[in-house]
Amino acid sequence: MNWLFKYANPHNFMRLSGVVLPFTAIGAALGIAAALWLGFSAPPDYQQGRTVLILFIHVPAAILATAVYGAIAVCSLLSLVWRHPLSDTAARAAAPFGALFTALGLITGALWGKPMWGTYWVWDARLTSFLLLLFLYMGYMALWNAIEDETRAARAAAILALVGAVNIPIIKFSVEWWSTLHQGESIVSGKLAPVFLAPLLLMMTGYALLFATLWMVRIRTAIIERRARGLMQGAA
């Protein structure tokens, strides 16, 4: 664990992230730009037409939506077991992005669904679990904001994040079970032609780097904010 603590020290984190930031930012821009260019220059899908492009935004957002929750859960575990303050900051900083990716996944899912299913919303198992995930994110952020004492808020949010992490697979399973029970209309699934695989992977990388960049920026802001507060308290 020691190597982790070395970089989890706020001072080291500031230094390291300062070096890494420009690279992840440029990487994110390049990845997303290349993916868009490849995607738009590819022929329209024989089944989905141009709407297939929505999937480039949808799929990475959906994957990151879950991944970010995973990251929050890992940070929360580190915080609860090793009491490291930076992991609290990191968990808190990641949450809005997770919620944003989830919302983006839902919105693009609905936009894709309109031409595919003829309606913006079907109670498809995957969409439904993402809707529940969005509520989990909202509850998590609301708890952070509701508790004034910062250490207490951090611990409470960490416990909630872990409870949520244990529950997410169960929620996913239960929603899938539910959708087989209430099977109504048959649903067209979004299978991708191989031509689209390369741009999708590029887009995935771009998204991941974009998240990494924004996450680091938010953590840095939080650290600087805390330092500034410390200085002002010291001056008073």
Partner: protein
């Protein structure tokens, strides 16, 4: 029976603010310690630390029972008789029910004679919502006696009490120390015992 409680270089921080550090003291069986200090100096925080609710930012607290030593917070908590700011009473329960509950919770016999000792014999079947602040404090004292703990941690034990009540507290404390118990009390007033005092 506890033979001593030792605090070694304790430090307490609330958020970014340091309340105290390098705090060391030792209390042995039959002794009382008065913790004095201005509001916000950390008296209550120290008591919460000794009770095991709050973990110290640095240092340790060692409890010696017979020859066995332990710095485990949970084990220490099992010895603590707590009298906090709040009395821990429910308005819906009668005085007797309240006492029986705490006796049962602490797995000790509910000795009704304790109510007479604190001067609440006549109020035994009165719901707590009808008690005055001083009477509630007396009931809290009865609960402290019923719990039969040897390490008393008292936060402002004289608060809300009239002269007779304050004499009662002093008398109970003297008896507790006489029986080999330990008292650590946060207070603005003298305890009225031959006690040590600690300035925060």
């Amino acid at each position: 029976m506890i033979s001593s409680l030792t605090a070694e270089k304790l430090a307490c921080a609330r958020g970014e603010r340091k309340l105290f550090e390098q705090l060391s003291f030792r209390v042995t069986a039959g002794q009382a310690l008065a913790v004095e200090g201005a509001n916000g100096a950390g008296k209550t925080s120290l008591l919460r630390m000794l009770a095991g609710f709050l973990s110290p930012a640095a240092g340790r607290i060692v409890l010696k029972i017979g020859d066995a030593q332990s710095d485990d917070a949970e084990e220490r908590g099992r010895q603590v008789g707590w009298l906090g700011h709040h009395d821990g009473l429910k308005p819906q329960l009668t005085v007797r029910e309240q006492l029986t509950f705490y006796a049962g919770l602490y797995a000790k016999p509910a000795d009704a004679a304790v109510l007479d000792q604190v001067g609440l014999g006549r109020q035994a079947d009165l719901p707590c919502r009808y008690l005055s602040a001083g009477q509630k404090r007396r009931l809290a004292l009865a609960r402290l006696l019923v719990s039969q703990r040897s390490l008393w941690l008292l936060d402002e034990p004289f608060a809300a009490l009239d002269t007779a009540g304050q004499q009662l507290v002093a008398q109970l404390m003297a008896r507790h120390c006489g029986a080999g118990g330990i008292i650590i009390a946060a207070t603005h007033e003298p305890l009225g015992l031959s006690n040590e005092s600690l300035k925060l």
